[in-house]
């Protein structure tokens, strides 16, 4: 149990001393996962809206499928992306494997289903009279969507929080397509907090793992505070 205490002390030390390696890793985590969340949001929110308001055959099945994809293991996502971008894959020529870009792609794919699904849930929480009112006020399709979203902003931002949580905490895809590389230049490295935690764990360094976990949670806390602030505006 003392490892937990040590973990806290170590976390404090890392933060206070601004340990350069760790800060680089943390920064990479934030950048990659935020980018992935934003990208996924840009797809998931309109997609969720299209599905929710759409009337097409197979709509219900599609929703079920999306809900099913919540269970997509990160490793599988990693593998699929890996197959596409590895040198022999169809996008191999782009040389994306083991780059931060690849990690962004993988995390985007990973959180897409849950963000889409939660967007659908969020929209279904909006009072139908609100929707009718918007229509009756002469909203274009876009204005309609924008305003329904605005009404559902609390739940939609909750979906974003879930998406970000999943992105920044996942490790399977990150390690497969990123590779947990620690090179001397920032841009060539792909080590993020979760892959670093995995590594420390595999080396048996429990306190260090916990310290990195705490750091990750602090980052998540900061992001969530921002989200909450926006929610309550």
């Amino acid at each position: 149990m003392y490892e937990i205490v040590e973990g806290f002390l170590e976390a404090a030390r890392l933060i206070v001393t601004l340990d350069a390696d760790v800060m680089a890793i943390a920064l990479r985590s934030i950048t990659i996962s935020l980018t992935a969340t934003v990208l996924a949001g840009l797809v998931a929110v309109p997609l969720g809206a299209a599905i929710y308001f759409g009337t097409f055959p197979g709509r219900k099945s599609l929703i079920n499928l999306i809900q099913t994809l919540y269970s997509l293991p990160t490793v599988v996502v990693g593998l699929l992306i890996f197959l596409f971008i590895s040198r022999v894959g169809p996008f191999g020529f782009m040389r994306l494997l083991f780059t931060p870009t690849a990690m962004v792609i993988a995390q985007t794919v990973l959180v897409l289903p849950i963000m889409t699904g939660l967007t659908i849930s969020a929209l279904s929480g909006v009072d139908p009279v609100i929707r009718d009112t918007l229509r009756s006020l002469g909203a274009t399709h876009l204005q309609f969507l924008a305003n329904v979203m605005k009404e559902a902003r609390f739940a939609i931002l909750a979906a974003v929080a879930v998406g970000f949580g999943r992105a920044i905490s996942e490790v399977g895809a990150a390690i497969l397509v990123g590779g947990n590389i620690m090179a001397s230049s920032f841009a060539s490295s792909t080590r993020v907090l979760t892959t670093a935690i995995s590594l420390e764990t595999s080396m048996g360094n429990i306190s260090e793992s916990i310290a990195l976990g705490i750091l990750l949670l602090l980052i998540a806390l900061a992001v969530n505070l921002v989200i909450t602030t926006v929610q309550h505006r």
Binding site: V129, R135, S136, G138
Partner: protein, 358 residues
């Protein structure tokens, strides 16, 4: 302006509208009245393109609005709607009212000005920055009205717009509606369960019953010569007496409850009719007073009840069937009648409107 042609709407297998036909003219104020569940809201929603009819056509300025899917936005932008249970957006009152203007890309200054003007008009000046979700029922309804009004639609649809308002606010809103119609020429279609409101505001009234317009006419027509027993009952004619027409002394007479009643216009002998007599046309005199004017129906009876009704009392007399009259409190006091008093009820044959029973 708006043509309804055999409009039908069924939910599941239940047909709510079963062929509504009618015309609302440009610049007209048209009231839809009808019992709860008659389909008033449904009809307004169909016109506002919020739902699709299962049959018939709705034409606005000659265009079948449900057929023209690509033009639905411009059609809808001609209309403003106030819902029966209005919902407000989770923001300030000012932003709520501005929404429609923003959709139309109005300038910020114009928006601010119009919003303030609208709030002033509905009696909510100074409410701009209030969170709309914390408003009282009536306040919300007025915000909804301001929101629909501010876009200055050619057609204003209102679903029971004053249902949650007190009489003073109702009067304000009614004045406003009349003013909008008069000053801007807005065509106004509203539903109401307050028949008197229909009468106060509307040029014409459509009585929606059993899925169709049972009657369409001016308020006076609907109130004085209802087209059916149901309409008569609905527009508040308290005295509806069923009987059979018999020919007598060259004049037709109706026999009801063993009593003979003369009426101005009657169908042929043998027909079953319902006689509608507005209570304010009925006079009550003490049994020992001088005889009523000749030619009037005069029936003896006993006072069954005296019930207050606003500044009046409703006096119901049992003359074989119940007949009631509405008298000012003073008059009741002057007549010195109370329950059980013997009185004489009289009314002119012209006050009797006969409708044939289906």
């Amino acid at each position: 302006m708006i043509e309804l042609e055999g409009v039908r709407k069924a939910f599941d297998s239940k047909e709510v509208l079963a062929g509504v036909t009618g015309r609302i003219e440009r610049g007209e104020i048209f009231a839809v009245i009808g019992p709860s569940g008659a389909g008033k809201s449904t009809l307004l929603r169909l016109i506002d393109l919020l739902d699709t009819p299962t049959g018939g056509a709705i034409r606005v300025r000659g265009t079948d609005i449900h057929a023209e899917t690509e033009r639905s936005l411009s059609i809808r932008r001609m209309m403003g709607m106030v819902f029966q249970k209005p919902a407000v957006f989770n923001t300030t009152v000012a932003e709520n009212i501005a929404v429609g203007l923003r959709f139309r890309r109005a300038r910020e200054a114009a928006i601010r000005e119009k919003v303030e003007e609208a709030l002033e008009m509905v009696g909510l000046a100074g409410y701009e920055e209030r969170r709309a979700r914390t408003l009282s029922g009536g306040e919300m309804q007025r915000v909804a009205l301001a929101r629909a009004m501010v876009i200055e639609p050619a057609i204003l649809l209102m679903d029971e717009p004053t249902a949650n308002l007190d009489p003073v606010s109702v009067a304000t809103i009614e004045d406003l509606v009349v003013r909008i119609n008069r000053d801007l020429g807005t065509t106004i279609l509203f539903s109401t369960h307050d028949m008197y409101q229909g009468q106060r505001l509307a040029h014409r009234i459509g009585v929606l019953m059993n899925g169709v317009f049972a009657q369409v006419g001016t308020p006076r027509e609907v109130f004085t010569i209802p087209a059916s027993r149901d309409v008569a009952r609905f527009v508040g004619i308290e005295n509806i007496v069923d009987g059979v027409v018999v020919g007598e002394n060259g004049n037709a007479v109706v026999v009801a409850g063993g009593v003979r009643i003369r009426a101005a216009a009657l169908p042929g002998p043998g027909e079953r009719v319902s006689l509608c007599i507005r209570s304010e046309d009925i006079r009550i005199a003490p049994a020992d007073a001088a005889m009523a004017a000749p030619g009037r129906n005069a029936l003896p009876g006993t006072v069954a009840s005296i019930v207050p009704r606003g500044p009046f009392s409703r006096v119901t007399v049992d003359c074989g069937f119940a007949l009631s009259s509405v008298l000012a409190w003073k008059v009741v006091d002057d007549l010195g009648i109370r329950e059980g008093s013997r009185v004489r009820v009289s009314f002119a044959p012209e006050s009797v409107h006969a409708v044939q029973q289906e």
